[in-house]
Amino acid sequence: MSKPSKKKVYGLLAEYDSAAGVFHACEQVRDAGYSAWDSHTPFAVHNLDKAMGLKPSVLPWIVFAMGMTGAISAITLQWWTSAVDYPIIIAGKPYFSWQAFVPVTFELGVLLSAFGAVFGMLGLNRLPMWYHSLFNSERFHRFSDDKFFIAIEARDPKYDPERTRKLLEASGAAHVEEVED
């Protein structure tokens, strides 16, 4: 903020050395009432989402819808091709011999559920996103190795360059820096 640069500020980035450190810091940032913020860790730290006060993922509903779509399409396809469009007697079985249609119904249900899980997850996470402001920080690259980070965005209504920095420093951060957008 104090720099005369034309570049916008993305927010403040605080670095922590341990999972326990970032966990307790997240609790403090959550309790301070911030909303546009995030933490970044090398692995999924257990219960860190709760320390941040995040809501549970809606992904299961997407997967359920996709799975049902897959299974219903498969059974409809098999019924229509075998009993309506080209009925033909095979091994003396009824045209709509649903028992024989179970494997394909199951497989297509699983296949579409899997698509729902992967593409739903990527969609909810807005990935791929090859450019992100945080990658402007030299130190941030260690998130994928051994460092833990909290980033509070400047667009957060509670964001204040001085007070937010103080909060992060008081939470046990090893280093706090401003990141350009």
Binding site: A20, F43, H46, L59, P103, E107, L108, W130, D145
Partner: protein, 471 residues
Amino acid sequence: MATAYHDELDPLLGRKNLVEGGVSYHDITEAVATPIEVPNSRWWIAFLISLSMLGVLGIALGYLFWMGTGIWGLNNPIAWGWAIVNFVFWVGIGHAGTLISAVLFLFRQKWRTSINRASEAMTIFAVICALLFPTVHAGRPWVLYWSLPLPNQMSMWPNFRSPLLWDVFAVSTYFTVSLLFWYVGLIPDLATMRDRAKTPMRRFAYGLFALGWRGSTRHWLHYEKAYLIFAGLATPLVLSVHTVVSFDFAVSQLPGWHTTIFPPYFVAGAIFSGFAMVLTLLVPLRAWFKLGHLITIKHLENMAKIILLTGTMVGYAYAMEFFIAWYSGNPYESYAFTNRLFGDYWWAYWTMVSCNVITPQFIWFKAIRRSPLALFVLSIFVNIGMWFERFVITVTSLHHDFLPSSWDYYSPTVWDVATLLGSFGLFFTLFCIFVRFLPMLAIAEVKSVLPQADPHYHAPHHAPTSGKEHH
């Protein structure tokens, strides 16, 4: 420590630490990522041998496409020769990866984190090898799309009552889901490779596939949910795939095939052979890449126990097949099984029993299941035994069916052997490429099982050790 008879246990947890030597997060990144970044002469030797075997596959398939399936040893009663044997063999191997990633995940078996990546890769490559065989066995691989329900000028549809069509859906779904599961697991580690990359080319390639991953907790939330759902989906899937493969046999009327024990028996055999192949691959790899502190003796021991369990289940299934053949009072069924023991293919049957039933029983001895060399040798025997199992099932039942006038003896030709050898070339070439370019341990997951990864961990005042406190 690695050769000790008992593992040291964590004094507070009463369990063994999954990663030995009190390593830090950074040590794990280095241990896994450095072998990928530094060229290795041993790798080149393995790769060139595999590549030349892949060349054999190219020749065998080229000649096959030119001449047709007559170059194989197939004859009138035995229309399913080595192609189907090899297909079932490779699909079976492809079961361990998903079992490790999905079933062990649901059972909270945290030791899976060190072995899941390589096993999943093995699964994908084994399924590629498996898919090759029905494709070429169909005779005209360029019209393979006929097995899909596509509108055509004859307005005909595939027969959805046929287990062979179920197989098309089961194996291709299994391949797709395994590939996606593997890729989702790779995303955080690709980000690690991107952030370590020294050359622009590497940064671009890893960065492209890392999708801009930035380890955000908001992302991990959906990511972990997706992973859990995947595990839940893959568990019934992995059981269904070999079940459907067994239907190819069990739904037919042939004595020796038409039995209800086939689905569970095939699934147990698949897990058995898959874990054996995981050991075959990981025992040398952990030595060559110095990963003994991440893939510990305890990991090998756990896998050996699963081999013992599933091997014993397979042995039980062999015995039960005989019991039912006798108890059914069906003379054709009884004959089919007597013929397995004492008929023309007695040598194949006894090879199978020796390798699959007797070999795993050595695992009862702790000294054997804690010796990487002994486990490696055992795993080779299991691989051989499981190939023979599929040979016995396929060939002994077909060669003497109902009518003695149609009986015949089957032997493979040099092209059958070349295709099998070549499929190993394909498998090992793909595996070498994987080991060269991708992290063969799940870096992020291994970090998460370290003691200090617990958000309530309090470091002791001096050096980092295995101590752990709760409050």
